[in-house]
């Protein structure tokens, strides 16, 4: 068993006996690899005694869950109302043209994943983007290339 698989099994066992635990377990499993892989879902189904069909019903219902590996840097462009009114659509367009991908897609090199999210709760800072948990407030399209460079550099250093 790989380390990731045994971690996933631990999560399943931890939540197995608790009520209302499926979504919590899925959150934690997604936390390992950034997505929920088929084999993890199957393992969870067996260990938690939840039909696999139910697991995928849930996984595909909620926006939060990913079924394939996202890019290393997940760019979330907020499309909440405040950000919309302050022109985040232009920021999104800039990301799309710079990365040559659409929202919900990853760059072929697996570096970036672009997604839209509904309100990260920083409306005062609108328009807002979040990259791997780091928030960029008062965004302008001009900042987009800088941010991409910053993350490219960060990954190079790794």
């Amino acid at each position: 068993m790989s380390e990731e698989t045994s971690k996933a099994a631990e999560i399943a066992d931890k939540w197995r006996k608790k009520r209302g635990s499926l979504i919590m377990a899925l959150h934690e499993i997604q936390g390992i690899k950034g997505y929920v892989a088929w084999e993890d879902a199957v393992m969870l189904s067996e260990r938690m005694d939840v039909p696999l069909a139910r697991i995928y019903e849930v996984l595909t219902f909620y926006n939060f869950f990913k079924l394939v590996a996202p890019g290393k840097a997940v760019i979330s462009v907020c499309t909440g109302t405040a950000c919309y009114l302050k022109g985040n659509d232009k920021v999104l367009e800039k990301f799309k043209s710079e990365l040559k991908i659409k929202e919900g897609e990853s760059t072929p090199d697996g570096m970036f994943h672009l997604q839209c999210v509904r309100c990260v709760g920083c409306c005062g800072l609108a328009p807002v983007c979040v990259v791997n948990g780091k928030t960029y407030g008062r965004m302008t399209p001009e900042q987009v290339p800088e941010i991409l460079e910053e993350w490219k550099k960060a990954f190079k250093e790794d």
């Binding site: 009520r19 209302g20 635990s21 499926l22 979504i23 919590m24 899925l26 959150h27 939840v50 139910r54 019903e57 849930v58 219902f61 909620y62 926006n63 939060f64 869950f65 499309t79 909440g80 109302t81 405040a82 919309y84 009114l85 302050k86 999210v117 509904r118 309100c119 990260v120 709760g121 920083c122 409306c123 005062g124 800072l125 609108a126 807002v128 979040v130 780091k134 928030t135 407030g137």
Partner: protein, 560 residues
């Protein structure tokens, strides 16, 4: 027995509050640093670390207290730091970074501490000072947000020092459950999640259902309205207030355990809530025989996973149960048949945050705020094209103009106010001519909007209403659960028609069809999401139909 008395004393909330108050009293200076999601993402963690290091270096840690607080309200100006020195006027610094924080410490705090009497902050900081006399601060009435921005939300004792858990004690030790329900009923508190159903009545219904083995109280923290963050700020800024409210509710209705359902997008709120629950358990405020009474209660947290529809109570219940968050028809209502088929009472975060205040200060005090039918205060996330966007709390019945123009400081860049949008994707627009309308459940409904959970978006005259309606509809179509046909297909069809019209390709018949589908969706959708999804379209149509017709291909040519 002596041990028992010792333990009881150790966990006495009065003792703990007094000790904390005495501890705070020792400090001559308090530096409050906003540590909510907004300011944290602007780097307030680093600022707090810097302040601590300066204080350590100067040996001032004994005299100056640094408090990482919840939201101070004026999010657009964050990160915010408020300095409170005994005998001096409070000063609020805005948009601080490391450099400015250093200047605040060296040029203001250190010097002011060495100065007797008033000390005016130096010139170099003036552009970072926000007057606390601003209408933004003066015109608000903080009930729910009383503690946010003033206490460390991660310190239960600080909550106690500010009167925390006294209401719970009052309820458990001096009131019967029925009296608690009665008090809440009398206060006129209505659900703050959007529906506006009387909280007291809901509790009464829940209390009536016998507790066979289990009964649940559920806190709905699935704040999904894009552009609103009241519940997040309350959970981040004053989590104990919500827990205390929930415990009182549990006592009133006879609940055996409680569940917090919080958006997964709010990690900080979840973390603070978790810490608060831990602290409660440690201090015997959760568990068996709370405060030495027969009351036993425990809570747990469950996360959402990105589905707006889970704000609907039956969908929320399905989600906790580990299923798709699809609503089901009511009746049966959750108060009869809810989580795992057991009676369950679902209350919103802000609703619960009001409860302890009502019990402590009385229903009459609470009812003294607001209008005939809408009592108390309401928290709004004031955003959009407004000078001071942020989190505000005003008495019900405050006019829109007071909120936007006075508290919000009006529309910036010389533009004119066109409308205000409330209720998010379920609400509607209120045109500028209604600015003197008092904000309350009934009035908002009259003009085709709703109170909603508290999003208030200011729209200036450069905004196009058809696009705005499309923005909201796009959201609800995306968030439709897909269970019922009117919403699943109707929303998609409406969006297609609206897009066609917005691109200048629509005809009058498309507009007619849009209205026809909107009507059917309102009437035949299963839950609130579908029933209200057409509201942004219908509401903008009601006041700005000309903006639609102007875009039509077969628009009647205007005489020039």
């Amino acid at each position: 027995m002596a041990d028992m008395a010792e333990i009881n004393k150790r966990f006495d909330i009065h003792e703990m509050a007094n000790a904390k108050r005495a501890e705070i009293e020792k400090y001559v200076c308090n530096i409050y640093c906003c540590h909510s999601t907004g300011c944290k993402s602007s780097g307030s963690d680093d600022l707090i670390a810097l302040i601590h290091s300066i204080l350590n270096e100067k040996g001032l840690s004994e005299r100056v207290r640094v408090v990482a607080t919840g939201c101070m309200g004026l999010c657009a100006q964050g990160p915010l730091i408020r300095v409170e020195i005994k005998g001096k006027k409070d000063v609020l610094f805005k948009r601080v970074d490391l450099e400015i924080t250093k200047a605040v410490m060296e040029d203001y705090v250190l010097k002011a501490l060495d100065t007797q009497g008033e000390f005016t902050p130096p010139e170099n900081l003036s552009e970072h000072i926000l007057s606390l006399d601003l209408p933004f601060f003066k015109k608000q009435e903080k009930v729910v947000l009383k503690n946010a921005g003033h206490i460390d939300p991660e310190d239960i004792k600080e909550y106690m020092a500010h009167g925390g858990y006294l209401a719970l004690e009052k309820a458990l030790k001096t009131m019967t459950p029925a009296e608690v329900v009665e008090e809440i009923k009398k206060s006129g508190l209505r659900g703050r999640g959007g529906g506006g159903f009387s909280t007291g009545m809901k509790w009464e219904l829940a209390a009536k259902v016998p507790t066979v083995d289990e009964k649940f109280i559920i806190c709905n923290g699935d704040e999904g309205d894009p552009g609103a963050y009241m519940d997040r700020s309350i959970l981040e800024g004053d989590p104990h207030a919500v827990i205390e409210g929930m415990m009182i509710a549990a006592y009133a209705i006879g609940a055996t355990s409680g569940w917090f359902y919080v958006r997964a997008e709010y990690p900080l709120a979840v973390e603070r809530l978790q810490k608060a629950i831990q602290a409660c358990k440690k201090n015997r405020l959760l568990g068996n025989n709370i405060m030495g009474t027969d009351f036993c209660f425990n809570v747990d947290i469950r996360l959402g996973a990105g589905a707006f529809v889970c704000g609907e109570e039956t969908a929320l219940i399905h989600s906790i149960e580990g299923a798709r968050g699809t609503p089901r028809p009511r009746p049966p209502y959750p108060t009869n048949k809810g989580l795992w088929g057991k009676p369950s009472c679902v209350n919103n975060v802000e609703t619960l945050a009001n409860v302890s205040k009502i019990l402590l200060k009385g229903a009459d005090w609470f009812a003294s705020f607001g209008t005939e039918t809408s009592k108390g205060t309401k928290v709004f996330a004031l955003t959009g094209q407004v000078e001071h966007s942020g989190l505000i709390e005003v008495p019900m019945g405050t006019t829109i103009s007071q909120i936007v123009n006075e508290i919000g400081g009006g529309v910036p860049q010389g533009k004119k106010l066109k409308a205000v949008q409330t209720g998010g994707p379920s609400g509607g627009v209120i045109p500028a001519q209604y600015m003197d309308m008092p904000v309350c459940y009934e009035e908002l409904k009259k003009v085709g909007s709703i109170m909603g959970s508290g999003g208030m978006i200011v729209i200036d005259d450069s905004s196009d209403m058809v696009s705005l309606a499309k923005f909201y509809l796009d959201f609800t179509v995306d968030e439709s659960c897909g269970k019922c046909a009117p919403c699943r297909i109707g929303g998609k069809q409406m969006l297609t028609l609206l897009d066609k019209i917005n691109r200048g390709r629509g005809k009058q018949k498309d507009l007619d069809l849009l209205k026809q589908i909107a009507f059917a969706m309102q009437k035949a959708s299963l839950c609130g999401l579908g029933q209200t999804a057409p509201n942004p379209v219908l509401s903008t149509l009601r006041f700005y139909e000309n903006e639609y017709t102007q875009k039509l291909l077969d628009a009647p040519k205007e005489d020039k």
